[in-house]
Point group: C2
Chain length 159, copies 2
Amino acid sequence: MTQNVYKHHDHHSCVDSALNKARRLCEESGQRLTPVRQRVLEMVWANHKPVGAYDLLPKLAEEGFNSAPPTVYRALDFLLDLGLIHRISSLNAFIGCNHPGEAHPSCFFVCRECGRAQELDSRLMGSLASKAEEELGIKVEQQMTELMGLCPICQKEAS
Amino acid sequence: MTQNVYKHHDHHSCVDSALNKARRLCEESGQRLTPVRQRVLEMVWANHKPVGAYDLLPKLAEEGFNSAPPTVYRALDFLLDLGLIHRISSLNAFIGCNHPGEAHPSCFFVCRECGRAQELDSRLMGSLASKAEEELGIKVEQQMTELMGLCPICQKEAS
DNA sequence: AAACTTTAGGTTATAATATAACAATATTGT
DNA sequence: ACAATATTGTTATATTATAACCTAAAGTTT
């Protein structure tokens, strides 16, 4: 676990680090981190809450970007392909990836109260996949895990 | 692993067993397995492929049931609440549960070629949740895992 | 630099999935 | 039979996502 979003931290450095990694990955793969793409990535990293595509549209509009659905979906797809963000299927929402560039399953806990999502160590998912591959003869290409519940902060507030 | 959907099996007995379990669970919990609900459950169990809500609508219509979206979503929600089916979020689709009545995370492998889904032993997911609870102080209430790839049959056909 | 190719973005329309809100009916408990 | 509750019917609409086609920008080759 490289960080804990439910603890106080210098969030500016989260965003900063995400942008640096993005720039590096783009360069390495010969892709372009265009203004929309970078801005969408920053918006996804605005906090640690998964954000919906349609939440981004008005924000892009405010900043003078084109803001039709294809624009934001293209940017999101680009970022997904590069592994810079993950998609939280159960929420139809997107969240920044903590360690882009290292192939790994999407594995998150999301607090049902505050909405903040914590990326989890996904190594156990690897075991699950291997076991299933062995027992069933399947070939696993992708995997995702989503946990829901209460974060420490919202547990306290509930009592 | 109680069964392997990628191997030949008497599918009639899958459906039969699912219906029996459904009737038992409904009785135990004082809920009613009404005609639409039962029919939707049967349709979900028609094969081992996750089925979308909107795929069910015309089938219900054919049989003279009302077939507006709320009808099918209500039936699906009922079956989800009782743990008789699971939702595959990455597909917006629904699939029968192999062991309803026993609380457990949703844990599936889905073949990207043939679409057939295999429910997996979810005990490893329990470890993941416990570990996360311990390390982060979170409280996990729900979890789901979805694997994608190629089943044994589709691997063969690909070569 | 001009011509060409490739990649990205703009635009309009529409598809696919899901829910809100309220009325009508059926079932259960008294 | 009556009231209370649960279920279903119905209409409308919200939310999420993609298709298709066109324009513009950036990179490549000559």
